[in-house]
Symmetry: C2
Subunit: 150 residues, 2 copies
């Protein structure tokens, strides 16, 4: 999957990101939105654009901690969708090569991974459920405007 859009609604605390199938051979890549908080949306936008602040923000600290421990974030997978809430998993390679999996909110996972282009996957069952949840004629992005990437 790829992060296809960040959708900002100026009068709502909830923001949207959209994930879309990234295979260029697909004629109609499937896409689905994930509702995230305004703080996480800001973190994703900032880290996507590589904006450095004088002091590390929380997701920078998380990235620096993983790096400082000699580990590497290898992949993000959206593994489940429970009661409308997506569950993501970080796959992190320890210095000894062992891969550990840690549950996360998709927003935290993507804010962490987006700065280094970590691949994003989604379980087929999640894509199917998410696409049923948001049929094409019900546009959940109504009232949102796209985050303007610099």
């Amino acid at each position: 999957m790829e992060l296809s859009r960040i959708l900002i609604h100026e009068r709502k605390p909830e923001q949207l990101i959209e994930l879309r199938e990234a295979d260029p051979n697909l004629q109609s890549p499937r896409a689905f939105p994930i509702v995230i908080g305004i703080v996480e949306a800001a973190a994703i936008g900032r880290r996507l654009e590589g904006i450095d602040l004088p002091r590390p923000m929380t997701h920078d600290l998380l990235a620096n901690t993983i790096e400082g421990l000699g580990a590497t974030l290898e992949a993000i997978t959206i593994i489940d969708l429970i009661d409308g809430a997506f569950i993501a998993q970080l796959s992190i390679a320890r210095p000894d090569g062992h891969l550990v999996h840690i549950d996360a909110r998709p927003s935290d996972a993507i804010a962490l991974g987006i700065a280094t282009n970590v691949p994003i996957f989604a379980e087929e069952s999640v894509i199917e459920q998410a696409c049923v949840m948001t049929p094409p004629d019900d546009d959940p992005t109504d009232g949102f405007k796209e985050h303007d990437r610099q």
Copy 2:
């Protein structure tokens, strides 16, 4: 040092935490406030009270990542005060016993460490500067009310 107070101002985006010297033999322990964001104040309050949410919030994810990598947060040190901004450092023990130091904002460091009672230190020079910055007759906590610990 110990986290002595979390001060909430309902009409300000900035919140205050107060660190106080923890040595019980001190007759007049010194204390100084640190301005933090509302999101970090909420995270500190929640993790201090051990409130578990269905999905990990960002500081829970950071704690789970350190644990998943077999590492342990050993200490938090407020190492510097530059232009009114405090710099903290996480001291994390890797599985091989090697200690790594990672710069952080004090709010993130304390939100991370408070759940497991990680000791908080401050460089003497920082305490001195911070106490000069906030003389006793200038109460920076005016208008704030104390976070009600459950």
